[in-house]
Amino acid sequence: MSEQVFNKTNIFIALQYLAARKKQSFLATIGVLLGVTTFIVMINFMTGVNDFLDDAVFNGSPDIIISATTKRNSKKKPGITTNYIENSDKVDEFLEKDQNVESFAHQIISPAILISDAKQFPGSINGIFPDQEDEMVDLERRLIEGEGFQSLSSENTILLGISLAKRLQVSAGDQIKMILPNGKNIVLKVSGIFSFGITTIDNVRTYVSAATLQNLLGQNSISNIHIKLRNRDNVRLKDYLIQNINDITTEDWKDSNKTIVIGNKVRDILTWSVSFALLLVAGFGIYNILNITVIQKRKDIAVLKTIGYSSKDIVFIFLVQSLIIGILGAFFGAFFGYIISYMISTTPLDTSDFIIVDTYPINFKISYYVLGLLFGILTTIIAGYFPSRKASKVDPVTIIRGI
């Protein structure tokens, strides 16, 4: 094609048409702006929450947990007994061979009562092997006070979840007393306080060294094996273990975090559907405005054609109008989306029942902004295309006869 439609004159004409309908053009721009802003804010917020939960829950807990089902000592009262894995060596063998296992750690878990000078509360005591556990959980990142797993190597020390520590009114360096279901008790020094940001964890979880707990329970077995996988979505190992090892149960991350997995999905669906709906509305707005313009301006279009403007020029002139609306709306939308997201990210958040954070988690990923811009501009191009094509099909003779 020899003729070039992208030229100053056509853009000038398009701008003139936009300026002649300032109010409608402004409203259409606002429509796109709202769509893009909502998209940005929602996706920043929703993925922020999703990532936060993913990080807190999935990195704070193992991908697969193996626990025992037998009771070694049936004389103990139900509910407060600990079951022990009898074939832990055999399990270890399996895990060492499996390619998908990144690391695993032994634990002995027991309930206990924790008593400080001020208060007493029940807790879940995880007896761990510091070197193994370091491979599993990045506790350093989550430490509020004191030191991490390695501090458990010294005798009679304990690590507490932040909420539990607050309720017990203790801080690092203080001493607390622990009473086990079998009546044994011990005084422990709080060597560190951690927070996963999830109330259900921070409220009850404590770490002591496995040796300490085994001593008190008169046991040298373990009750759980925690496994971290290379590919978290492949949990075939679970079935394999169940089939080959007796008296164990397994639970994967999806089982233990059903509500969070579903919550993430719901948030994703919500983000995309609401943004899509808003952009659809904005698109219809533009479509409508241009369509009405084309009908009202049929005579003008006919005149433009008689004075030498081609069908392609006309398509371009109208498409540019929606494109300008789209680009302005999308850029301001992304800008306001950023401002609002930023404001949310600095809003102090009262500790809820579920998660513990100072402010709302927001994900400012640049790709969401690019996506929002593309989304907004694409909508307007599609919405503008059909009226533009209609405009280009106006037959000057028919129109001029009717003038």
Partner: protein
């Protein structure tokens, strides 16, 4: 010859096939103003749409500026019209979003053979020629019918086309304004050496043209 139309036949299919132009032949050299008159419905407008290449659905040969227009494809036809033909309508249609000067400039901006400053100069010259220079910056919808028609004539002239086609250019104006517009067209024909075809019902116009042609029921009366 600027315009050479030979044996033009035109049919409309709606409501049934009927012939509206019958073997119409017409040649107009430069410097001649030809008016076409005749009863309403005799086919004047239909002929003018064909002569100005807006309607290409006809039988026969049409040469403008020695170019057979049927040989042009859609996009080169638009360019050809932009360059060689000026069109003036009964309802002097200016674009209301643009001011008077911009309206006159639009065809030249499409042609884009000159830069914007030169186009502006040309447009202002034309506006003063049609007596509308004082209105250059006015929005076009503020003008009276006669004033708008003069601007439309300036617009038709901006690319210096060799052929000007005007369909009842004074049809909507009072006698005095009609005469002014006609005088303007006549003067342009002479001084600028254009070929001009006017369709009109006004006897004053067709009696004072270089040549006048009567249309009867789609044919030219010989």
């Amino acid at each position: 010859m600027i315009l050479e139309a030979q044996c033009i036949n035109k049919y409309f299919l709606d409501p049934e096939k009927h012939q509206v132009l019958k073997e119409v032949s017409l040649s107009v050299p430069e410097g001649e103003l030809v008016s076409v008159y005749g009863e309403s419905g005799s086919g004047k407008s239909t002929l003018l749409y064909i002569l100005s290449t807006l309607d290409m659905d006809f039988e026969g040969n049409l040469k403008i500026h020695n170019q057979e227009v049927k040989d042009l494809n859609a996009s080169s036809l638009t360019d050809f019209r932009n360059k060689h033909i000026g069109f003036v309508y009964q309802f002097h249609y200016l674009l209301p979003e643009f001011n008077v000067l911009q309206n006159v400039m639009l065809p030249a901006m499409k042609l884009s053979k000159k830069n914007k400053d030169d186009i502006r100069k040309d447009a202002l010259n034309l506006l003063s020629e049609v007596g509308m220079k004082g209105f250059a910056k006015r929005p076009s919808y503020q003008l009276s019918g006669g004033q708008q028609q003069r601007v439309a004539i300036a617009r038709a002239l901006i690319n210096d086309p060799s052929l000007i086609v005007a369909d009842e250019p004074t049809g909507n104006l009072d006698q005095k304004n009609s005469e002014l517009i006609f005088e303007l067209l006549k003067e342009i024909t002479g001084s600028r050496n254009k070929a001009v075809v006017i369709a009109t019902h006004n006897p004053k116009i067709y009696h004072n043209s270089n040549r006048s042609i009567e249309m009867i029921d789609g044919s030219i009366r010989l």
